[in-house]
């Protein structure tokens, strides 16, 4: 028996993996400095920014999707900017989905890294400073390696959470094959068209995949002792 997934399904899987990977990379690049700042700042903005980062945990994806749709449109702030830059508007494009996913998965990446940075404490960094390490040096050779487990957790959660994204994509994606039709949307399409066999294959795949990812993460979590957590 051949695999009962047609080319549209495979395209959706490929697109989903691409979206989740790219989103994770972008989130690590943005999220790591942000987490560092949140872990060390005494600014009054810490509270509001932290809350803003955590918002997607509680907001319905439809709220996020609606505001993104408005913001990305030609009359919205982001849309106006991208049109000025000659990029056109980003709704219904892969780029738009990446922006949406970055917002949507932000807390899953920032929070574990922030926790890891906070757990390191000041001590190792102060010791490094007395040994003559520059701030940048301290960040890259002391803080980052010590925060590694947190960063790995963040990457895995960011990736897995983006795999499961649905509401935001549905609102801003437009169901375009190979551009915005991700697996979750394709499952929805199959169910809507009452093609339950195809829906089951894809849905089962997502289920198993997510389970395995979390299982591996758990294993790792038990094996790795969080450095600095001993304080």
């Amino acid at each position: 028996m051949s695999l009962p997934l047609d080319s549209a399904d495979l395209a959706a899987i490929w697109l989903t993996l691409k979206l989740a990977s790219l989103t994770t990379v972008v989130l690590l690049l943005i999220g790591t400095p942000l987490a560092w700042w949140l872990a060390h700042t005494r600014s009054r903005l810490k509270g509001p920014i932290g809350a803003l980062v955590a918002l997607p945990l509680v907001l319905p994806p439809t709220v996020l999707g609606l505001y993104l749709l408005v913001a990305l449109g030609p009359n919205g702030p982001i849309g106006a900017l991208t049109e000025q830059l000659g990029l056109g508007t980003l709704a219904f494009s892969f780029g738009g989905l990446v922006i949406g996913s970055v917002c949507y998965s932000m807390p899953f990446v920032v929070q574990p890294i922030q926790n890891a940075f906070e757990a390191i404490g000041k001590r190792p960094l102060e010791v490094a400073a007395t040994l003559g390490a520059s701030p940048l040096d301290r960040f890259f050779t002391v803080a980052l390696p010590l925060a590694r487990p947190g960063i790995i957790t963040a990457s895995v959660l960011g990736f897995a959470h983006t795999l499961g994204e649905f509401g935001v994509v549905l609102m801003i994606g437009g169901n375009i094959p190979e551009r915005t039709r991700v697996v979750s949307v394709q499952i929805f399409n199959h169910v809507e068209a009452m093609d339950y066999a195809s829906a089951h294959w894809l849905a089962g795949g997502v289920l198993v995949c997510s389970f395995v990812i979390l299982l591996l993460l758990n294993r790792r979590g038990r094996l790795t002792v969080m450095p600095g957590a001993r304080r």
Binding site: L69, V70, L72, G73, P74, N75, G79, G88, T89, A91, F92, L170, I172, G174, N175, I176, F188, N189, V191, E192, A193, M194
Partner: protein, 249 residues
């Protein structure tokens, strides 16, 4: 403790509506959202029955109905889905009738964009053309027929974006993310006037007539409020609302 209050309330209701006020759950195709809200309000005032309406694409609603959703009346955006409900044994046979005939419009939120719709489609002078999912939304299917009739299926394919229902399609165009889209005329016109933006009423020859049928589902077979609503839809008051929104009969 609350029982006496409930009894008192129930008495009040039955006194004010001697014909035993009931409740009817209706699944309504998204294109009929606005007229249904008007009709439901008038129906509730005239009969005292309560209408609980859910809106979605016809395919979406049918999938829910076939899985035991508690709807009692189904107002579809086509005639094949209600017929299917009947042949699948989900609906009361003989209860089907056409409550409205839909019209398709090419619409843009930009008031200056559409003068000749067919010309605009041929020129391809836009980034995105929004349609409803043709697999589940009859207005989406009609849109694909129009593109086929104009010989533009291939040319327009890269520009298509799909809404899950005609409601979402409208939203894509209204927010400006898609410059143009095929929507239901009822969404953009009132009393024969386009309410905002610019539109082209697609000639009826370009697509199969959108006969929108209503059907009484088995769950509502013994509900007199459901029967009353279907009667009401055939009546003059409903007809006035329906034609105000640009539907035919």
């Amino acid at each position: 403790m609350r029982l006496p209050l409930l009894v008192a309330t129930a008495c009040c209701i039955s006194i004010s509506h001697p014909a035993l006020a009931g409740e009817v759950q209706v699944a309504v195709a998204a294109n009929f959202t606005a007229p249904m809200q008007d009709i439901a309000k008038a129906f509730e005032q005239d009969t005292g029955h309560r209408v609980i309406a859910a809106f979605g694409s016809t395919g979406q609603l049918y999938a829910q109905i076939s899985h035991g959703a508690p709807f009692e009346v189904f107002l579809a955006a086509d005639d094949t889905t209600p017929a299917r409900a009947e042949s699948d044994g989900l609906a009361v046979s003989g209860s089907r009738f056409t409550y409205a005939t839909g019209a398709l419009a090419l619409w843009s939120a930009d008031a200056g964009l559409i003068s000749d719709g067919a010309q605009l489609l041929r020129s391809g002078n836009f980034e995105h053309l929004a349609i409803a999912n043709p697999k589940t939304a009859p207005y989406g299917l009609a849109a694909t027929q129009v593109m086929q009739q104009l010989g533009l299926t291939q040319a327009l394919a890269p520009k298509l974006v799909e809404g899950q229902s005609i409601g979402q399609t409208y939203q894509f165009v209204a927010s400006g993310n898609a410059e143009v889209g095929f929507v239901a005329l009822s969404q953009v016109s009132r009393d024969g006037e386009i309410t905002s933006g610019s539109a082209w009423q697609v000639p009826a020859a370009l697509y199969q007539p959108i006969r929108q049928d209503a059907v009484l589902l088995n769950t509502g077979a013994d509900n007199h409020a459901a029967a009353a609503l279907l009667d009401y839809l055939k009546g003059e008051q409903a007809a006035a609302v329906i034609s105000r929104y640009g539907y035919g009969h």
